[in-house]
């Protein structure tokens, strides 16, 4: 029996110490292979292509002067025609819609392209308010993107997040995602707009259901959100920031539950002193304007949405003068 006692205690101690040693070694080694384009997951390859193109566009615009940046997930990528907005408003505009699955990363990344005097519109997808992203909140798209392409983002993460990312690497199902298909190679305009989403996808429209919006009640924890920190950073760096509703497939009427959610979002922006432009309903679109997911507009939808932006931007410019 004594042998088993020794065996059990020894095994238990090793079970606790070995993972710690492995974690320390992995944390050290990971700085040299995470985000260095060594392991590339399918979807993140696409995101990287967008990102590179949009950053290049941003660099060129910044050389010329202040710009408008429309920042969010892919609802902006498909929903906004920055070329048209620029033409109509006379202010250089960049579509910085990426992928809502990147979660808090879009705020980190936006800091790289925003300059003093710029204006940023944030038509964030509702998941940004549902999940209230904090630094340790890591959606899988973000994990995959970080592993593939952003070493500096990885390095600044807290240890807990780094460990989560490393744990993701050894998941068998994550290996499957490495070789995932890039279904479409979307074409982007020089201002970062998706320009080939012509008509509603039939497969999608057969099963499409309007989005149901549900946001948690606002608590004091909002100061930990990356969105809050981003807003503060914008203010400190003389960057104007406006909140606006995202474009989404939605029925016209709003349920009580949804109204509560909208009130919570507005409450947040009031607390942090950010102007919310327009109404949530302004972002609601009928199925005929949707491309292939609830947040992606087709070309007709994009046109309507861009006109809306033009009106709102012109109005804000007039007010500021």
């Amino acid at each position: 029996m004594n042998t088993y006692k020794k065996f059990f205690i020894k095994t238990l101690i090793l079970m606790l110490t070995v993972p710690i040693i492995i974690a320390i070694i992995a944390l050290f080694a990971s700085n040299y292979f995470i985000g260095k384009e060594i392991i590339r997951y399918g979807e993140s390859q696409m995101v990287q292509k967008w990102m590179t193109q949009k950053k290049q566009a941003s660099l060129e615009l910044s050389k010329k002067g202040p710009k408008i940046v429309i920042l969010s997930g892919s609802n902006t990528l498909y929903g906004v025609n920055a070329m048209k907005i620029e033409k109509e408003t006379g202010v250089q505009t960049l579509n910085y819609g990426l992928h809502a699955g990147l979660g808090p990363y879009i705020f980190y990344d936006a800091k790289r392209i925003l300059k003093k005097g710029d204006t940023v519109f944030i038509p964030l997808e509702y998941c940004y308010y549902e999940d209230n992203y904090e630094i340790n909140n890591l959606p899988s798209t973000l994990v995959e993107y970080t592993i593939g392409y952003d070493n500096s983002y990885y390095r600044q993460l807290p240890i807990k997040s780094k460990l989560k990312i490393l744990a993701y690497l050894v998941r068998l199902d994550s290996l499957a995602a490495i070789s995932k298909t890039i279904d479409n190679e979307y074409k982007l305009s020089p201002r970062g707009d998706a320009i080939d989403a012509f008509e509603t996808d039939k497969k999608y429209s057969k099963k499409a259901k309007p989005e149901e919006i549900k946001v948690k009640k606002l608590t004091n924890k909002y100061k930990k959100w990356e969105l809050y920190k981003f807003i503060q950073w914008c203010k400190e760096n003389d960057i104007k920031i406006y909140a606006i509703a995202p474009n989404v497939y939605h029925k016209k009427n709003i349920s009580k539950e949804e109204q509560k959610s909208f009130d919570e979002i507005k409450k947040f922006y009031n607390l942090v002193g950010v102007k919310f432009i327009g109404k949530f309903e302004d972002g609601f679109f009928d199925l005929k304007y949707i491309y292939e997911t609830n947040y992606h507009l087709n070309i007709d939808g994009q046109d309507i949405r861009s006109d809306y932006f033009i009106r709102k931007i012109k109005h804000e410019l007039k007010n500021n003068h």
Partner: protein
């Protein structure tokens, strides 16, 4: 609380185990039992205490009272004792019926009578099918005088003991109560502790690494909106076949392992079921405690095979119909159960011919049938099942998934790799692993306190915990739904 959550593995089990043995070491035997009951109730009510705790507490108290009544009270006539048993069983079934089958019943009434009765949307309480069956068996045995007078605390522990509470194995009072009462079992046993931990880690590995990985491919096929090719459907179906086995047997190993650490032996639930060479053999190897319950408390009382051939076949069909229904309130489960019933009846008929098939052929027929039947178990409706069968028959083509390497910078870059191609990459080695691990359940009893076993245990722990702690990992057990 889930067996595969870090809270359970790193906090709950160590705390419950330490306090339990500490109290016993100080000879606070009753306090240790109270502690274990409370810890089990905490485990059960972790997610929704106000909903779940009253339910299980009422069920325990009610069944204990009825069981004691059946044991102790001297009834003047046999009929009144029978009435008490009937009352007890009806109440248990009513509880199960309300929580599990009410909405299913209303949906069917609406469909049949073209009316519009509103659904109750009752949330299925965890483990209700398991603790209802366990306690119904206790009532039947009390009626038959097979139980003795149990202590309430031990009875409450028997029902609520957390390792088996939410997904079995379905335990029997006769094998469990003596273990709870035995004083020797109250003290730490290092051999059991080691073997229990080993078994738990094997179960964790089976669930987290094998079952959860296979789930991705099973879901990809069964939830697919586009038609699958024959090989895609076959890969998906095989993935589900092994997913459900490793999910449930992984859970059972974890339950058995943790229980063993408390010096309590739970009954085995699996014995390499996919090695079965006929359908009766399959049911002697798959969810063995459910088969035992259905045999002892349904098949035998119905007359078993003692009332002639026709009645035997009818009894088999009834048992499997109930077996299907027990798994869930859906026609798909009923179809699955009935298919197994028909197969058992055919198997019985075949046995009467005295023709013996080669062993390998029997295995192929049995395994193919079991796979086929899982389609109905997994598909959410008949349309999905029909599509899957169509795909398996090759009516949607036979496209072979391409085998490609992993897209890593230093390997040749290959773009446009479909998700299904990854199946061809990972499924064969995974299935080999899966078959190999099928023999694992024999190892814990052979555990040697050597460095090799230590290393094996640490490896299982690290691999599983890596996955448990990775982002967005949430995975419940399939049998939690039943």
């Amino acid at each position: 609380m889930l067996f595969n959550s870090w809270e359970y593995i790193l906090l709950y089990v160590p705390i419950v185990l330490s306090v339990y043995f500490l109290l016993n070491k100080k000879h606070l035997i009753t306090a240790s039992t109270v502690w274990l009951v409370c810890a089990s109730l905490f485990f059960y009510g972790y997610l929704n205490p106000t909903y779940l705790l009253p339910l299980i507490l009422i069920s325990i108290c009610f069944n204990f009272a009825v069981g004691s009544g059946l044991n102790n009270l001297t009834f003047n006539s046999k009929i009144s004792k029978r009435a008490l048993l009937t009352f007890g069983i009806v109440c248990n079934l009513a509880l199960l019926g309300y929580f599990k089958y009410m909405d299913f019943f209303i949906t069917n009434i609406n469909g049949l009578l073209h009316c519009d009765l509103s659904l109750l949307h009752v949330i299925l309480p965890l483990g209700i099918s398991f603790f209802t069956f366990t306690q119904s068996a206790y009532l039947v045995d009390s009626y038959q005088g097979k139980t003795k007078e149990y202590d309430f605390l031990n009875y409450a522990l028997f029902v609520s003991f957390f390792p088996h509470l939410v997904a079995g194995p379905i335990i029997h009072h006769a094998e469990m109560m003596p273990q709870f009462e035995r004083l020797k079992n109250k003290f730490i046993n290092w051999k059991n502790l080691s073997e229990g931990l080993f078994l738990f880690l094997i179960g964790l590995f089976k669930k987290v690494i094998i079952a959860d990985s296979l789930a991705k491919w099973a879901n990809m096929g069964f939830d697919s909106t586009s038609p699958l090719s024959c090989l895609e459907a076959l890969s998906s179906l095989l993935s589900y076949t092994f997913q459900i086995y490793y999910d449930f047997s992984g859970y059972t190993d974890m339950a058995l392992g943790i229980s063993k650490m408390f010096n309590i032996d739970l009954p085995q639930n699996f014995n390499n079921p996919y090695k079965a060479i006929d359908i009766q053999d399959f049911w002697r190897r798959w969810h063995m405690t459910l088969s035992r319950f259905l045999r002892d408390y349904l098949y035998f009382p119905l007359g078993g095979s003692r009332k002639g051939n026709v009645r035997t076949y009818v009894n088999i069909l009834i048992v499997f119909f109930i077996c299907g229904l027990w798994h869930g309130a859906s026609w798909m489960f009923i179809i699955w159960g009935t298919l197994h019933g028909l197969a058992s009846a055919i198997n019985r008929l075949w046995q009467r011919t005295n023709i013996e098939l080669p062993r390998w052929l029997s295995w192929i027929i049995t395994f193919s049938f079991v796979n086929f039947a899982w389609i109905f178990f997994r598909a959410k409706d008949l349309a999905v099942a029909k599509n899957m069968i169509k795909s398996l028959l090759g009516l949607n083509g036979f496209a072979v998934p391409k085998i490609y390497g992993v897209t890593i910078k230093y390997l040749p870059h290959i773009s446009n790799i479909a998700d299904w191609d990854t199946i061809s990459l990972f499924l064969p080695p995974l299935l080999i692993l899966v078959i190999f691990i099928g023999f694992f359940h024999k190892i814990p009893s052979n555990l040697k306190p050597t460095l090799c076993y230590s290393i094996l245990m640490i490896t299982l722990f690290i691999l599983s915990m890596f996955k448990v702690l990775s982002p967005e990992y949430t995975s419940s057990f399939i049998y939690f739904n039943f």
